[in-house]
Amino acid sequence: MAQTPKKPARSRSGTLQAMGRNRIRLGLCAMLVLLLIIAGKLFLIQGLDAGGLAQAAEKQRTVVQTLPAVRGKIVDSEGRVLAESIVRYNITVSPVNNTDADTYQHWNATTQKWDEVARDDGLRQLSGALGLPFDAVKKAATGTGNFAYITKNVSPAVEAKVMALGVPGIYSEAVSRRVYPMGAVGGNIVGFLGQDGTPLAGLELTLNDKLKGTPGSRTFQAGANGIIIPTAPVETVPPVDGQTVKLTINQDIQYYAQQAAEQQKKHYTAQWATIVVVEAKTGKLVALADTSPVDPNDPGKSAAADRGARSVSAVVEPGSTDKIITASAVMDKGLMTPLSHVLVPPEYTVDGQTFTDAFPHGTEQRTLAGIIGESLNTGTVMSGQKLTPQERYDYFRKFGVGQKTGIPLPGESPGIFATPDQWDGRQQYTILFGQGVAQTPLQTAMVYQTIANGGVRLKPRLVDSYTSADGTVDTPRQEPGIKVISPQAAQQDRDMLESVATMGDAPDVKIPGYRVGGKTGTAEAPAEGGLSGYTSSFIGMAPMDDPRYVVAITVQRPQGLIYGVTQGYTFNDVMGQVLRTFDVPPSTTPPVKLPQFYK
């Protein structure tokens, strides 16, 4: 009895023990399998695909932000800003949020209390801060939409005022905006950007590579909630701001020249007028003035034709101003001197082509200076026919006719100048007095720069230097000029030009204290289906003892009797202003007065 229960008990405990062992083994096995799976997975993750997953994870966390570069400034020769990029704000509204809030709480800083503000009152304050009519603001802020603009391009000060009002649903967004503090002064040179920041005209377009800079980036890691992980590395590539472009343009002279051009245009009801001011010894352009100038802050107000620089894009017949090229050529060749004798008939016929002058005259005993002084076509043809057509062509080319000057402005025209083999019977003579050839006002100005600079033609310069964001200044070197005529011939040219003012047909050209010289020009203006109207011009230089500046005035299609049209006074005004501004010492030598007739 005592044993019987013992046996099964013993066997039961044995079974139990066996069961326990089995369970333990089973558990162990399960755990081992689990561990194996985990280890396998770990091996898979860490061992086989470690890079890929880590990369994917990192990619998920990594945020790359673009840091925009600030567009470079454009400044005048004195560093006065013509174009710069500034921060502006667009005031936006979520109409649904604003419309829903009939009243809202606004913290009053003076009473230290929350004020209850009615929606209309809030919007009225907003319209006051923005300077917009209340109705317009309310209309924009009413609706069920989620986004609308109240206004664009407000200054940071106005934005701060607007945001301080705390009107519900009113937000602001910062935008970079290009502004042109001088507006229309130099606007045609500087150019402008489109709404989306694309350069559309002027130097903004041609110097875009220098101005735009290189945007930078910031790479950081952020969690799903957008919070930056502080311990993760932050990689910042700083943006490189655009270069500051310093022009050779002097804003004061530019303004004055634009005024003067506008005045001439108005006075003669002309189509347009341009004034070019060049520094003779460096080729630097001091002013490039156009009428109806474009205000780059609002280019849409100007007609498309008025948005460029006519002094480089307009192609006009220069007329008598080109007679100096013919005179230069015959003197440089040693064929004539300013005092060479020419017996000028009332009309002159050569190769069946008859030429007359702008005013009737009998047979006159003229010097070459006298031919230039009274701008005689007949005498010019008689002098110039001593040159072969090829020689005529070569001299014109050397003076830059028919070639682009290379100025960095869009739409520059090379002018129209055919090769001698294409000249017809009349053209081979008319080009001698500037007809049958078309030039830009700048090209013609550079002809006179050549004469003022002792016969060496320089490349006109508009950009003085580039300043990088790090402060290094890059001043492009002045290219060596092209020797067109001998210094002696240039001096003879200058004497003849001065005699135009002292003895010839431009007695109204005078600036007290300075010796000046120049040449009038009148040509017929080509139009669709022939010629219509005239191009009237005057190009002069001062002081004649050592010319420093050249001023070229071109007026297209002035109305009224063409012989009454004079650019002399405008030249006096502009050149006087230039000489005063740059403190040019007055002339100390007596003026040259070459005899116009011989006896």
């Binding site: 006065r80 800003v81 500034i86 921060v87 923005l130 300077g131 917009l132 009519p133 109705d135 317009a136 209309k139 924009a140 939409g145 609308a148 603009y149 206004t151 664009k152 391009n153 407000v154 200054s155 940071p156 000060a157 502004v179 042109y180 503090p181 001088m182 507006g183 229309a184 002064v185 489109g194 709404q195 989306d196 694309t198 559309l200 804003q251 004061d252 303004y255 004055y256 634009q258 005024q259 506008e262 005045q263 245009k265 108005k266 100038p293 205000d295 802050n297 609002d298 280019p299 849409g300 107000k301 498309a304 948005r307 007290p512 204290g513 005004d573 006087g576 005063r580 010492p585 007055p586």
Partner: protein, 240 residues
Amino acid sequence: MSQAARRPANLPATAVAGSNALAPVSAPDHFPDHASGPAPRRRTPLAVVPAPARRGKTPVVVFLFGLLVLALAAVLVINVSVSQGQYELVALKAHQDDLAKSNQDLEQKLGAATAPQNLVERAKGLGMVPATSMGQINADTGTVSGNPQPAKAGTEGLAVIPPAAIDTPAEMAPSNVDAAAAAAGNDVSDNAAATREAVRDTAAKEAARKIPARKIPAAPAAVTPDLHGGSIPAPSQKAS
């Protein structure tokens, strides 16, 4: 041993190296019998060894605990100061932005004030007139050249060029710039287009008042019939 070695010779040696207990002086006269025999192994005489001063364990624990607390506190302080620095940095950056903005504003005001259009306007407001003649003074000879005359009141200046249109455009009318940009082949962003659409109504009146809307003549409808390569139009076919 080295300590013992460094001791001056006249000082008695210590019982044990490092102990201050003096070794008992050997007294050969106490054991006269063995003096003549071979040197017997002598037992080191017993002496009281003073127990080293017991240090309590408490200061060490306190010290370690203190160190721990200190380290934690240091970490905390550094953390706090770093985040404080971050806040300060953010505040300073905001301040810098504000200053840059106000600087920009001031520069712009300066630019506007120095713009020749505005200068001329202000000079006119002060009653100034342009000078019509000029002369030169030669400081060396004391002579005056030219023909300077005092300016006369009422002298008119040259044609006026309007000042820059900056910060005046508040109207959200479809601006002509867009038209210009579009004409130049640039897509006006959808956003801007949508905006214009949205606010056109509100600002149309205003725009009409401010800028006389530019009349863009509609392109003449194409009247040239399809000549299919011929020079005269084909007779029209009867509709079946």
